[in-house]
Amino acid sequence: MHKKYVEISGRMISFTCAALVIFLTVAIVYFISVKGFSTFIVNGVSLKEFFLGTEWWPDRPIEQGGPKVGAAPFILGSLIVSLLAVFVSTPLSIIVAVFMTEIAPGWGQRIIQPAIELLAGIPSVVYGYIGLSVLVPLIRNQIGGNGFSILAGFLVLSVMILPTIISVSTDSLRALPGQWKEAAFALGSTRWQTIRLVLIPAARSGLITGIVLGLSRAFGEALAVQMVIGNTRRIPTSILDPIITLTSAITMDMGYTITGSLWNNSLWSMAMILLLMSFFFILIIRFASKRGVVH
């Protein structure tokens, strides 16, 4: 009797926790979708205008031409900054991961592991502040422009996503069976050939997962990016131009809008884009991990 009671209560607790998580996810997705779709349904903004429009006058009175909510500069800004960050960060991260697992598994890991954990623990506002105080003046004085630029944005981001990509890549390299490496050596491969032709291809799905996780972190980062990119609602023409991202546009405006207005709804639509992007990233990871050699 007593045993049965314990069994049931254990079941209850785990059910409740699982249900809570599912409920929260569903509730958040539902809430964002309802709010996000109302730009198109309630306010009657066309999808084309929202995704391709470049003009952002969410509160312009009718007599001056009416409101315009073109989110193209934000979407483009988010994509540019996070893709560039991933391009910079990926080679660096994978090389560091290889170094830690294959080349210097002893002392290399003892030094690099804590360094990465430290990097991961620094709050984003600190990254942004360092970017604002060091990187922005440096770009202004050494390269040109006024410092607030795409360049500053993706450099800050690429440092921020390093820990994510490195740790996922390290885990996937470490999970490879030791025999594969031994077999490669036995066939006469050099260390470089083993790494390049056996280990990295074998760990591909894990590496892709790391990159996509880094990309999604970069895409969702708001504060640090907002502090250094200059928040200018315009399509950029050079890497030294200021830019604006979805996240920074949302944080900038949200305190000033009235619930239910077109302006507020279009911010929710932007949030919905972020959500859809993260679904998309999860899909990629699922797909990659299914096709990988090591699960």
Binding site: L132, N146, G255
Partner: protein, 300 residues
């Protein structure tokens, strides 16, 4: 356990959760509770502050709580829009705003009661490296609409003008646009979401121009005269310098109970003559001109 029972159990859990969460969402309305005894006040109120006003309201709230130890006044930041939304939804007792509720789309201004606590002046500020001291209104409009792009076009150094705006919904931006730019739409420029950051960026970026409430101005940046008029207390009081805004505290319906007491305290000599000028605001009781929601100014 059979499959059916399992499902039933899961369903019950979800239901229980829904109910629990719904319970959390109910508004906490302790604020309007009025103590019957006139001698000692108790209870709690919430004020949602605009960034321009937050330091003043916080300081005043601390003093108010010192005097009435049983009272809890909590101040939340947010922005003018948040303040107005929350107070009209009844989620906060007082909503602070830089702009008239009538100017904000989507707010039913008729159900809100306005208390004008003080006035804050706003000045055009530039990087100290800019040698210009005075601008005319037309020049200012040309700069902010993007017609003039270099300081040398009116006697400054050969330096590109860097436009720095506040976020689009900011009260400071709305005031500056309305009274300094005659409502002309600003050219696309950098947008910064707090006054503190604007100050830092203007101080560090050569050729930068922006606008700030007088309470934020110090030696690291330079405030420009507008049409030869210094943006300072006296010129605002008698209406010579046009760029200023009331700091409003809105309540839903006429203020009552604790909210009323707190608003009265904000208007008392104690706050108006010491705290308000100390923090570089101008007491609304001192103003010699009055402005309505449409921007019409009348002499008092």
């Amino acid at each position: 356990m059979s499959r059916k029972v399992k499902w039933l159990l899961a369903l019950c859990c979800v239901l229980a959760l829904t109910i629990a969460l719904a319970g959390c969402g109910a508004p906490q309305q302790t604020g309007q509770k009025e103590d019957s005894k006139a001698t000692e006040l108790s209870g709690s109120i919430t004020a949602v502050a605009s960034t321009a006003m937050q330091p003043l309201v916080e300081e005043a709230a601390n003093k108010f709580m010192e005097k009435n130890p049983k009272v809890q006044v909590s101040i939340q930041g947010g922005g003018s829009g948040t303040g107005l939304t929350q107070v009209s939804q009844g989620a906060a007792n007082i909503g602070n705003s830089d702009i008239f509720a009538e100017e904000k789309e989507g707010i039913n201004a008729t159900q809100l009661a306005d208390t004008k606590v003080c006035v804050v002046g706003m000045a055009t500020v530039v990087n100290p490296g800019v040698t210009v001291d005075n601008v005319t209104k037309q020049q200012l409009i040309d700069i902010f609409t993007g017609k003039i792009t270099n300081w040398k076009q009116f006697g400054g150094p050969d330096q590109k003008i860097v436009l720095i705006n506040r976020a689009k919904g900011s009260g400071t931006r709305a005031t500056f646009k309305k009274f300094a730019l005659d409502g002309k739409e600003e050219a696309v420029g950098m947008e910064i979401d707090s006054s503190g950051q604007v100050k830092k960026i203007v101080a560090e970026t050569p050729g930068a121009i922006s606008y700030l409430a007088l309470s934020y101005i110090d030696k690291s940046i330079k405030a420009l005269k507008l049409e030869g008029v210094e943006p300072a207390g006296e010129n605002i009081v008698n209406g010579k310098y046009p760029v200023w805004a009331y700091q409003h505290m809105y309540t839903k319906g006429e203020p009552a109970g604790l909210a009323k007491e707190f608003l009265q305290y904000m208007l008392s000599d104690e706050v108006q003559n010491t705290l308000v000028p100390e923090m570089d605001y101008i007491p609304s009781t001192k103003m010699k001109v009055e402005r309505d929601a449409q921007g019409k100014v009348t002499q008092l």
